[in-house]
Symmetry: C2
Subunit: 150 residues, 2 copies
DNA sequence: TTCAATTGGTTGCATTTGCAACGAGAACGC
DNA sequence: GCGTTCTCGTTGCAAATGCAACCAATTGAA
């Protein structure tokens, strides 16, 4: 019972959800995203592509936790902005494989430093050890779900 | 440099953002939210109200990390569904103070168990200690921002 | 081979969202 | 007092989102 009373604001859903949007907002405000004509949604896709290119739209949808239709439209605008290209897969003609352009790759160096700086300030005063544990826990949950779902 | 390379998927922004949406989605799928005519956005507001009633729409916007216009519209539909009431503040007529109805309070017992169950399964196998640290870290970040911002 | 079931991508639709402009009320200055 | 500035809530608008329906390509089974 006492656990139930404490639940909401101490729950992992509550905390991850709000801190996630908090940090994302902060980064959007402080980076040049707007001037580049990009939004936070685009950045989410870019992060995935910076890790691995040549993936299908469906893969991006799963890892981004967004609908495939949403991803399709976001990629349309990213392609129009010359940041990604969608190349039809010769082996399976249903697929389109997504690659970054030069511009897309260079955005990494333009955007990441400010993002890191934001996180840096947000986590100031928190022991490095605790942070590491926190990230490991979240990573475990994320991977459990994204692996199951594919 | 090696830190920069590792950044994206190991970053606190990335992890909180995705795990947050992941868990919220999972809960939405598994609770009776849809049948009640509610969405995840409504649940976010309800969580705040379960903790404290009689707050202004502006307060809800800050803690929910949403635009005040968004909150205004969400509260309109919640009021239409007889879940909250918006009472004009006599002391400062600009404000409307938000309270739960009986229905709104009873929703807590209907929705929380499934949410807890979802988190339970998502965190299965993760040491209780690590989870506690993770939550404490996130809570510190959340409170730092929401306090500063108001 | 041929037909059913599945999968990937696109599109229409209704809802949600942030931003900006607006109006009402309050606080502060003069 | 009176006007300026600020805050709170509302609304219009464009963008983002999930869902469902759709088409094309692949897979699997009869």
């Amino acid at each position: 019972m006492s656990q139930a009373v404490e639940f909401p604001v101490n729950s992992l859903v509550f905390l991850t959800n709000r801190v996630g949007r908090l940090l994302a907002n902060e980064i959007r405000k402080r980076t040049a995203l707007d001037e580049l004509g990009l939004s936070a949604q685009h950045m989410g896709i870019l992060v995935d592509l910076w890790v691995k290119e040549g993936v299908r739209q469906q893969d991006l949808a799963v890892s981004n936790i967004k609908d495939k239709g949403t991803i399709a439209r976001a990629l349309q605008s990213l392609e129009a902005a010359n940041i990604v290209v969608r190349i039809p897969d010769q082996e399976d003609k249903r697929n389109k494989l997504i690659y970054l352009t030069h511009r897309g790759r260079s955005l990494r160096e333009e955007l990441l430093p400010e993002a890191q700086q934001t996180v840096q300030e947000a986590t100031e005063g928190i022991p490095e050890e605790d942070l590491a544990i926190c990230k490991r826990v979240l990573s475990q949950i994320y991977q459990k779900f994204t692996c199951n779902h594919k």
